[in-house]
């Protein structure tokens, strides 16, 4: 039986009445990870907020475990984090950290604004990912600002949660980090985003950063047409 977590059908997202993504369709099963890749301003953040129901779609629909968000989030434990700037700076780090699973993830009693950027990002991630089990994880630029240790921790945590059955959606400019985690990629390159499965980029399904960059560049060069990435396989294939 297919354990479908996230189902997106003909989704168009908009920001201030400007369409940022059109006709996006994909399914994400438990244990799968999707990487969203695009330039600044391409609509990654808006698309991710649409997935969790914080922004209504211009058209199409999102379903999480068969239900419409945001009501679906009550039944499907979800982690969403859009970067350290989204945390209120006046709150004490220890108090914020305890809001995840109720456990103390950081004992530092300084206010969030007094922490380094890397520490703030880590605090936000640990708080959001602190709940378990998680059904859906949606993270916007999660590696941004992290130091090497924290980067390794995040990649290992995401892989562990994915392997335990969470569906994961990540957006990032750091393609070498995405390449190690995701099964499929959504390239926001033009009016209609291109969905590419990992095995369409690399036969083994394990995508290297170089292959991902190459695939993204090719999709960008042919933004609106269905193009062949490897061996004549079309990029804009319907998922599964």
């Amino acid at each position: 039986m297919i354990d479908l977590v996230l189902s997106v059908r003909q989704l168009s997202a908009q920001r201030s009445r400007r369409l940022v993504a059109q006709s996006v369709s994909f399914d994400l099963r438990a244990g799968q990870a999707l990487g969203v890749v695009g330039a600044n301003g391409s609509g990654k953040t808006t698309l991710l907020r649409t997935l969790v129901g914080f922004v209504s779609p211009a058209s199409g629909e999102v379903r999480i475990d068969g239900r419409l968000p945001p009501a679906a989030l009550r039944a499907a434990p979800t982690a969403y984090f859009a970067g350290e700037a989204t945390m209120p700076g006046f709150v004490r780090a220890s108090a914020w950290g305890s809001l995840g699973a109720g456990e103390v993830v950081m004992s530092d009693r300084r206010r969030i604004r007094a922490l380094s950027r890397s520490t703030r990002q880590l605090l936000g991630l640990r708080t959001a990912l602190g709940r378990h089990p998680l059904r859906l994880i949606v993270l916007d630029e999660p590696w941004e600002g992290l130091d090497p240790d924290a980067t390794r921790w995040l990649s290992a945590t995401l892989e562990a949660k994915r392997d335990r059955g969470a569906a994961v959606v990540l957006s990032s400019h750091r393609l070498h980090d995405l390449a190690g985690v995701c099964d499929k990629y959504l390239f926001l390159t033009g009016a209609v985003p291109a969905l590419v499965r990992a095995h369409e980029i690399a036969r083994s399904g394990l995508v290297s950063a170089e292959q991902l960059i190459d695939a993204f560049d090719r999709a960008r060069d042919h933004a609106t047409a269905a193009i062949a990435l490897t061996d004549g396989r079309p990029v804009a294939t319907p998922d599964e």
Binding site: F54, V55, R74, Y80, A82
Partner: protein, 233 residues
């Protein structure tokens, strides 16, 4: 139940009322309580600065923090924007309400009479100070409605030095008037200790209707609109 407990934990960690305002509320309640116990001040004298501070506390602002993503952690739990706003409102008025009840308790113990804070006029003044500033500040930065009210009050009193007396006279007049109805909103301190049931319904009800409509309007507007990040593309 779990959601309600999470909301309590969230607003304890990230209170919408700033610490200086909360400390001022408690300082006024504490010093006022001592003054009342010593017979140096009346309930209305203590409640007047408390009401002004409460107007600032309730002007806590919601939309800006929401657009900055401060409430993403709550929304991720499946809490509706309307539910979040109601919790935000309760958290915004909680410090003022606690200080108000503390003053009422001290006055009751000190004088063994009906506390000024519990008179119908005082309760209406508190409800107006709790609702209008919060609702009007939801799309704006913190303190917007309180600063607007203060500027309006100071300017009008500067232009008409006897304006306070005019407002009070209109407020307590036996017949309703437009100035009386305006006085309820512009100078709610005039209601402290007053038996509101003795005032004409036409004096009190427009302000109450405005407050109710402002609250419902704010909930409907923000509940219907979305929560994009202001920095998002």
């Amino acid at each position: 139940m779990a959601t309600a407990l999470f909301l309590v934990a969230f607003f304890r960690a990230a209170p919408p009322v700033t610490r200086p305002i909360a400390l001022c509320l408690w300082a006024v309640a504490g010093l006022g309580g001592v003054a009342m116990a010593a017979g140096l001040a009346s309930g209305a004298t203590v409640l007047t600065p408390l009401l002004v501070l409460h107007i600032f506390a309730a002007s806590s602002g919601f939309g800006l923090a929401a657009r900055r993503g401060h409430y993403d952690l709550v929304l991720t739990r499946g809490v509706s924007v309307t539910g979040l706003m109601i919790a935000h409102w309760l958290a915004s008025i909680a410090p003022g309400l606690a200080a108000w009840l503390a003053v009422a308790g001290v006055e009751r113990l000190a004088s063994q009479t009906q506390p000024t804070a519990m008179s119908s006029g005082s309760v209406i003044a508190f409800l107006l100070a709790s609702s209008l500033p919060w609702a009007l500040t939801t799309p704006f930065p913190r303190f917007a409605a309180a600063i607007g009210w203060l500027v309006l009050l100071v300017t009008s009193l500067a232009l008409v030095p006897s304006g306070q007396l005019h407002l009070l006279e209109a407020l307590h007049a036996p017949h309703p008037s437009a100035l009386g109805a305006l006085a309820v909103v512009a100078y709610p301190m005039g209601l402290l200790g007053v038996d509101a049931l003795q005032l004409p319904a036409g004096t009190i009800s427009p302000a109450m209707a405005c407050a109710l409509m402002a609250m419902l309007g704010a909930l409907a507007w923000h509940g219907r609109t979305e929560v994009p990040l202001e920095t998002a593309a």
